[in-house]
């Protein structure tokens, strides 16, 4: 039956290849637009190696210090270790807490070598290496004991290790200077895409080795760190929030004149990508504008494509009439028309998907994470952004929707011609 439909569709295509081609191109363009926006939005929230557990991670990057007396703001900033210790490290419900200090540029050099290079360094704890799934090429990252001792060890990215020492294996145990501070290389890992904005760097060091912290407010609440809470599953989020509230209440009681405000954090990944400053992002308007955009990108081409479908169908009125004479139901005929049209949509959809990769390449600067504000980090899109199940499911669903929107009215109209009239044309 399906092969029969396929043959028929090909024959109809041959009869008017121009119209068929235009219809396919129209579908392709629409799908390309839809998919480039879809992938562009999704690459911020999907699991990207090594951040393979984004769906069960909560993020905290801002804290505000306010006066108890009149609610006035003293200062906003990133978190201090004291705050993290009191509010997050003591939590019982999550699986793990990862603390990092955002990227900073450092001059990387090796003794007796002329090579000098700026590299972005991320300051992490030891749990970082357990919760993020880096591909280890050789060596082993720093352990809890080494971290606690503040030992100066560095994990290098593959590219940087090759530039400095020729090969990843040759780097292990060697000394490098980060802005003229000595570190010894303990491991080399595969490079990370900059879309993984909580783990991306060219070199990683224990934050305990870098004396970063300097209290900037009288309460000692703000500092230079941010924190990620790994829940056992996303179902635990509300339990974690509840427990966190208890910790915050206890912490505030001990703060004297001040209290802290996490501005509705911890955030799920989706909210985190929209949160640039401390204020709560306008979630509803973000969602609304992207839904409206998707609707426009679907409906406009659907209306325009239905003209083409209609002109294809018009020719087949006689054929459909005969089918009905021989007992086809109306529903069966509509299904036949939709199915035939779906073949066009799928061909257009596949074309469109590849076209969307091209569009994404052109607009990739738009996809830079706000967490890189002020740094010249380029956008590298990993392969898994383009090829993953949800992308393919989305393409199929968009094709189906476009097909229903553009072909159901023509199908309805063609099958509603009275049999006698439609047979007249035979």
């Amino acid at each position: 039956m399906i092969i029969q439909h396929l043959k028929q569709t090909i024959n109809i295509f041959r009869d008017n290849p121009y119209a068929g081609l235009i219809a396919i191109l129209g579908t392709a363009l629409s799908i390309a637009m839809l998919m480039s926006f879809f992938i562009g939005k999704r690459c911020h929230t999907m699991n990207i190696a090594p951040e393979s557990d984004r769906n069960r991670t909560l993020y905290v990057k801002w804290v505000g210090v306010k006066y108890k007396e009149n609610d006035n703001l003293l200062v906003n900033g990133a978190l201090s270790l004291k705050t993290i210790q009191a509010c997050f490290r003591s939590l019982k419900s999550p699986e793990a807490i990862v603390v990092t200090s955002p990227l900073q540029p450092r001059l990387v050099s090796v003794a007796k070598s002329k090579t000098r290079k700026k590299a972005y360094v991320l300051f992490t704890d030891d749990v970082f290496w357990k919760m993020f799934h880096f591909k280890l090429l050789c060596g082993a990252p720093y352990t809890k004991e080494e971290f606690d001792a503040g030992i100066k060890k560095v994990v290098l990215g593959e590219k940087l290790a090759k530039e400095l020492f020729g090969s990843p294996a040759g780097a292990i145990g060697k000394n490098v200077q980060l802005s003229y501070v000595n570190y010894s290389v303990c491991a080399v890992v595969e490079d990370v895409s900059s879309m993984a904005d909580y783990s991306f760097a060219q070199a990683w060091v224990p934050y305990s080795s870098a004396n970063l912290d300097a209290a900037t407010d009288p309460a000692g609440v703000t500092g230079k760190y941010r924190c990620q809470i790994f829940a056992r599953s996303s179902g635990d989020f509300s339990a974690i929030r509840k427990e966190l509230n208890q910790r915050v209440t206890a912490f505030n009681a001990a703060l004297g004149d001040y209290y802290i405000d996490f501005y509705k954090q911890p955030d799920r990944r989706l909210i985190e990508t929209w949160r640039f400053g401390p204020g709560y992002p306008g979630v509803i308007s973000h969602l609304f504008s992207s839904y409206v955009l998707f609707a426009i990108l679907l409906i406009i081409p659907a209306i325009n494509l239905s003209g083409f479908t209609m002109s294809r169908m018009k020719k087949r009125v006689a054929e459909l009439g005969i089918r009905r004479c021989f007992g086809s139901t109306r529903l069966g005929l509509i299904m036949q028309v939709l199915l035939e049209n779906m073949i066009y949509s799928i061909v257009g959809g596949i074309l469109g998907l590849f076209l969307s990769y091209g569009i994404l390449h052109l607009i990739r600067d738009r996809l830079i994470s706000t967490n890189y504000w002020g740094l010249d980090v380029g956008v590298t899109l990993p392969v898994e952004v383009f090829f993953n199940i949800s992308t393919f499911v989305a393409v199929f669903l968009f094709c189906l929707l476009l097909n229903l929107l553009s072909a159901s009215i023509p199908a309805w109209r063609v099958t509603s011609v009275p049999i006698v009239n439609s047979l007249k044309n035979v």
Binding site: Y18, A19, I22, L25, G26, L29, S30, M33, S36, P105, L107, S109, K114, T115, R116, K117, K118, Q177, S179, Y180, V181, N182, N211, L297, I300, P301, I303, N304, L305, S306, G307, F308, M310, S311, K314, K315, I359, L362, I363, D365, R366, I368, D376, N425
Partner: protein, 421 residues
């Protein structure tokens, strides 16, 4: 002929209503897009007030207290500013360097709304109300590095004119503040109660980037004495150390400079962090605007193609629907060419009918300043250009949209078409 066409269009008003509505909406969208690209084209072609080719930013950084070779403040004999002057002197001797400049909030693409490091001052001339202008604090060599004018002699004159107390004003600011006739030599005050300075020269207006109109601005001297005295460890990161490299020697400059100079530029607690071509700094600033332009271009291709789809699809359907009418026309002696031009003129008349009210809507959108007015005011000239281009593009789309169905119609054998009646 035209009257006949109108009659045909009127008789087919039910199906024409749809296509009229589509053309109406589409032409408004298209006008909006064309207008945007028209002003964009205009703004890009204006001079920038600098030339960043073959220029580099030298990023210096400061050692932290646990670095090798860190000098603790109590043992340090020189100021950060003096260290910086020594560094500039050493850079000057590096092969291929044409000029070295130090500036504050003045480097092209750096002192913009995106980076936030801008200084504004109130300028007064005689008893005028004064104007707000952006202040660029620069060493005289700045004009040789970034070349305010394409003429090298002018740049040399500018750098000579920048003496203590001198002010170099951009031409647009001068016209606004002092009138078109006044020339150099007038006394200006930076701030109501400040010591007056002399207008030493007038330079070309300076723009933040290709996507901004020029801002009123003036240059003020950053003298060596100021550098030595005032620059300290806390604020030296606000200063921009830039160089211009000889065209011939600008090959792998950044890499070579990093390798050759890293040791030599370790002065005091300062060290060389990175050498960046100005083009990289430019990219960071124009990236939001350019990816916006890219998105708009892609969306306009999408809209254009959809207009084409709509027009072409509708006409294809209509010609099929009117198969017998066409056959009748041929049978009655219409030539095939005439039939084709009949269909195309029908489309164009429909377009004209749709564009007439659309233009009124466009005008209202323009007058309400819903179009881009940050680059260019909405003028009659701009409006006419936009509307004319829209009409041309739309008729072009209609012609290709109608062409294929028309070609099919031309192939009809009259007998076959009439058989349907």
């Amino acid at each position: 002929m035209i009257k006949h066409l109108f009659t045909v269009i009127w008789n087919e008003r039910k199906s024409n209503g749809w296509i009229w509505a589509e053309l109406f909406l589409a032409s408004i969208c298209l006008w909006f897009i064309i207008d945007y690209f028209y002003v964009l084209g205009n703004i890009i072609r204006q001079p920038l007030g600098y030339d960043i080719s073959h220029t580099y930013r030298i990023d210096m950084s400061e050692l932290s207290s646990n670095s090798d070779g860190y000098i603790i403040p109590s043992e340090k004999r020189t100021t950060t500013g003096e260290d910086l002057l020594l560094i500039m002197e050493r850079i000057r001797h590096y092969p291929g360097i044409e000029a070295v400049s130090l500036s504050k909030s003045a480097q092209p693409y750096s002192a913009t709304g995106y980076s936030g490091s801008m200084n504004y001052q109130q300028l007064y001339y005689k008893d005028t109300v004064g104007i707000t202008a952006q202040e660029y604090l620069v060493t005289p060599s700045f004009f040789e590095v970034f070349r305010n004018s394409a003429d090298l002699q002018t740049n040399l004159l500018l750098s000579k004119a920048l003496r203590p107390g001198a002010i170099i004003l951009s031409a647009d600011a001068k016209d606004e503040l002092m009138g078109v006739e006044t020339s150099c030599g007038g006394q200006l005050k930076i701030g109501r109660n400040a010591e007056p300075g002399t207008l030493a020269a007038v330079c070309s207006p300076v723009r933040w980037s290709e996507y901004f109109k020029s801002n009123y601005c003036f240059y003020h001297l950053l003298s060596e004495a100021d550098i030595a005295k005032h620059i300290n460890a806390d604020d030296f990161s606000n200063y921009e150390l830039c160089v211009r490299v000889n065209v011939v020697q600008d090959v792998r400059f950044a890499e070579n400079f990093m390798a050759d100079m890293s040791e030599g530029l370790k002065v005091g607690n300062l060290y060389l962090m990175e050498v960046r071509p100005s083009s990289i700094i430019r990219k960071a600033v124009v990236a939001p605007e350019e990816s916006d332009i890219m998105t708009r271009s892609i969306l306009s291709v999408f809209i254009l193609f959809n207009i084409f789809l709509g027009v072409s699809g509708t006409f294809m359907f209509r010609t099929q629907y009117r198969w017998s009418e066409m056959g009748l026309r041929i049978a009655m002696g219409a030539s095939k060419l005439k039939l084709c031009s009949f269909l195309i003129s029908e489309g164009l008349i429909l377009l004209t009918l749709a564009m007439a009210p659309a233009i009124v809507v466009d005008l209202n959108i323009g007058v309400a300043e819903l179009v881009d007015v940050k680059w260019e005011p909405f003028t009659v000239y701009r409006f006419i250009i936009g509307a004319a281009c829209t009409y041309i593009v739309m008729s072009f789309i209609i012609m290709i949209g109608v062409w294929y169905p028309a070609r099919r119609v031309m192939r009809i054998e009259p007998v076959e078409a009439l058989h349907e009646d």
